[in-house]
Amino acid sequence: MQIIDTSGQQCPAPLIATKRALKDARTGDSFKVITDNQTAFNNISRFLKDNKTEFSSGESNDIWTLTITKQTPELINADAKEYCTTEIPHFSKGDFIIAFTSDKMGNGDEELGQLLMVNFVKAIKELDILPRNMVFYNKGVTLGAEDSPVIDHLKELEKMGVPFLFCETCAKYYLLEDKIKIGTLSNMFEITQVMSSAGNIVKP
């Protein structure tokens, strides 16, 4: 985890460093900010709360540590309206993950397969219990691209708290590295870990 040590720095330097790190971080990434200045700590906390960014914090011997997780890419610049009007309730997650291995659902007619995939992703949002994780590999990564037919549904799912892992090798292969702006680009080790530790794997 990235650690930004702002010890010895006065306001607003620690806040500027925090904001920069948030901007550079990928969605889902966490980082730590350390400060030895209580005012700076209070101000960063206030800034994060105002901008609806999740964080945890601790203090020992006059050193404050904030652990900050970037949720959605637009959050910091998002209109206040967006996060004020759409109150996101708390969703419970089950012990299963969904693996997207293709941009289509099932085998058969391509057009039908794409249509089914849209309906499938849409239906996930209606589940009483959400998946613990969603992984995307091979042609599945194309679902996460900005121009994908399911991108809006995926963004909503991300806001509901479902983490996404995209296979980085696959994203590179399909030249989508810069077009995937949700979730986290990840390696095979992490994807294998997530899949092997899941109670159930759902594959559309």
Partner: protein, 346 residues
């Protein structure tokens, strides 16, 4: 030895003010002196006290001092003096005499710096027609400087925080952002041009703004200093028992102030001011966060915020522009007292 006063302070200028919320707590326990000649006291959180001498004359009395806002002693003296005198202008008075208030670390700084600060103060006082007739210096670190100023005013022509009327437009005479730019200078994020512009604005007396207020018989005004635009607007709204709507997009800004705030350059004083106003304020749901925090920015020697009847507002604006206050703008309006005192919009 080249003196750099900024090396000595963490927060300079009006950013160094005590939290307004704490101040209100302390002031609650002090009895207000009862005297029919006291025309304005701290009850309405005005910029200065006013004491009636006779039916034609009252004294405006105010003081202000703070740690350095810039490196150069002479410029610091100029800014501190302009800021101290400003409160007299904000009440519609004519500043007359002043005393120096100085804290100076004589073991840490050469006496040239002391002389430089005083010279800056004298030069601005002279520009305002104020005679400095004495003062007091304490050996102290870091340095602080300002004036206690006395001005004349006609008892019937006092401009106060309590003079805002529903329907009035709010006009601000100087652009906002001195706190952000000074913090940005410390962080090496602010351009030299912006720093110079901020210094020029801080040295600028509120004389011409006050002249325009007198000409148009304006009753409600304040100067925008340490509590930021929103903090001073709140004080005015409370004192006048009205609500104020601020359209923050209309607020003139110094140079790159918006970009700096957007990059996180938000001085600590802004968060103190936010604490002070938020319970009494409504933030529009689409209010831009950076604009909101600019409204909290502590100003040093900021402009006048005046309440102007819309029928004369065009004339007031054009007079202000002609007097060299080319950024003077309508930034909001006064409405009947609503659920909150302040309504902040984009």
């Amino acid at each position: 030895m080249k003196v750099d006063l900024l090396q000595m302070v963490d927060s300079g200028g009006c950013s160094a003010k005590i939290s307004p919320r704490q101040l209100e707590e302390f002031l609650k326990y002090l009895p207000l002196p009862q005297d029919p000649n006291i025309l304005v006291n701290i009850d309405t959180h005005d910029d200065a006290g006013v004491y009636k001498v006779n039916d034609d004359l009252a004294l405006v009395f105010t003081t202000d001092f703070f740690p350095p806002v810039c490196s150069d002693p002479y410029e610091f003296g100029q800014i501190a003096a302009a800021n101290s005198i400003s409160d007299v202008y904000a009440m519609g008075g004519t500043p007359v005499i002043a005393l120096n208030i100085m804290m100076f670390p004589s073991s840490k700084l050469p006496l040239e710096a002391y002389a430089g600060i005083l010279k800056g103060g004298y030069d601005i006082a002279a520009e305002a027609g104020v005679r400095i007739i004495g003062g007091h210096t304490i050996d102290d670190f870091p340095p602080k400087y300002g004036l206690a100023v006395v001005g004349y005013i006609h008892p019937g022509k006092i401009i106060t925080n309590s003079g805002a009327k529903p329907g009035d437009l709010l006009i601000l005479t100087k652009p906002v952002g001195t706190g952000v730019i000074l913090a940005g200078q410390r962080m090496k994020m602010a351009s030299e041009d912006d720093v110079n512009l901020a210094k020029k604005l801080m040295k600028m007396l509120n004389f011409s703004g006050a002249e325009v207020m007198k000409k148009y018989n304006i009753k409600g005004a304040t100067d925008v200093t340490g509590y930021g635009l929103a903090g001073h607007a709140l004080k005015m709204a409370r004192a006048s028992n009205v609500s104020l709507e601020l359209n923050l997009n209309k607020v003139p800004l110094i140079g790159d102030t918006f970009r700096l705030v957007d990059e996180g350059c938000i001085p600590g004083a802004s968060f103190r001011n936010l604490d002070f106003i938020e319970d009494d304020s409504h933030f529009n749901t689409d209010l831009n966060y950076s604009l909101k925090m600019i409204a909290m920015d502590a100003q040093t020697s900021g402009g006048l915020l005046m309440c102007v009847n819309p029928e004369i507002s065009d004339n007031v604006i054009s007079d202000l522009h002609n007097a060299g206050l080319k950024d003077a703008s309508v930034i909001g309006n006064v409405i009947e007292k609503g659920e909150r005192y302040l309504y902040l919009n984009n």
